[in-house]
Subunit: 195 residues, 2 copies
DNA sequence: GTCTATACCAAGATAGAC
DNA sequence: GTCTATCTTGGTATAGAC
């Protein structure tokens, strides 16, 4: 006779994080209770504490994991030659990576203020590291004359803000493929920095 | 002998909304308690309910007021001639209006999901109305050949996302004046839609 | 109109049985 | 490892005195 309530240690952890990610993205960290997360996973609230010391650690883990995956994936891309090729690669990467993880992207921008004072700087630093990848491309292109960029810092923020806008409207069931979105945004970014 | 605890009906209401706006922007709607708002104003929590039926109405009022002010202010601008002049006017307006109300702008984008099902469509509709102002400019410029815009809807969202990015980094104490920011963004937007 | 006091409920987190 | 049960805190909202 099999036990009706058993242990599932290898899968429960990931399922908790997946449920938390989904619920935090939908309702916001502060509005989601541990009981809701537990219910979504199919366990009791107390069981969550076998996997996370508290709710804050759950949020921190999600954001840290996302940022590390983002940086690792970008740094794994094949090297590009010209600044223009690098910029195009960045745009394509940013869009496809983000469209594959809308929930993680969402909380990475929305829930920063719900990180504890110890955790916030860690995530903020990872975010700045990623931004620096783009800023370096813009600086190089400005130097060699491929781009006309008045202020590389502001342009970096402007391009990232523009690209991030995609996740607020893109619908996987909609009329546009990821490739079409990439192409549309590349055209806009290209012109924005054009010499 | 003056009373030590009196009535201040004409000023308490606005002060409650100002405190709520500030606290919602800083910590998020769900993370702010009525007690916190009351404490910030200098009254007891129960007193708030003389001014708002509940917390949700407080959020709704803040967002609705902000959106109405935004639309009224934009529609009060002097009419412009060419599509290019209209676009420049829009960019300047959007940046200066938003930089004057960073808290209201912040919650208008972050707290939409905390609106009740009855209230959400009202705000969403106002937001779309504002976006339509920009989309109409882009359509007109596309028609008369001033702009080369692949997709007016996506470009509308891209431009607004780019402009909204300003409030995440702009610092009134920083090196840049509002006029310099307007000029920098105008240059980027102009190129983005350039024929 | 604001106060104090409180009803009522849900939150995060923990203890101990199984 | 998960359960049930519970502790403690703090939330929204209301009642009635002043």
């Amino acid at each position: 006779m099999a036990r009706t309530q058993g242990s599932h240690s290898e899968i429960t952890g990931p399922r908790i994080r997946a449920a938390a990610l989904k619920l935090f993205a939908k309702h916001g960290y502060a509005a989601v209770s541990m009981r809701q997360i537990a219910s979504d996973v199919g366990v009791q609230a107390g069981a969550l504490y076998n996997y996370t010391p508290d709710k804050q650690a759950l949020l921190f883990t999600l954001l840290k994991t996302h940022m590390h995956e983002l940086l690792a994936a970008y740094d794994d891309l094949p090297a590009q030659g010209s600044a223009t090729a690098q910029l195009r690669s960045f745009v394509n990467f940013h869009i496809s990576f983000h469209l594959e993880r809308p929930d993680a992207v969402f909380i990475s921008y929305m829930e920063l203020r719900n990180l504890s004072p110890e955790n916030f700087p860690v995530i903020e630093s990872l975010r700045r590291t990623y931004e620096t990848r783009l800023q370096d491309i813009l600086s190089a292109g400005k130097q060699d004359g491929s781009f006309a960029v008045e202020d590389t810092k502001i342009t970096t923020w402007a391009v990232i803000a523009m690209l991030n806008g995609v996740i607020t409207w893109y619908n996987t069931e909609g009329r546009l493929s990821v490739e079409e979105v990439q192409s549309t945004y590349w055209e806009m970014v290209r012109k924005t920095v054009a010499a």
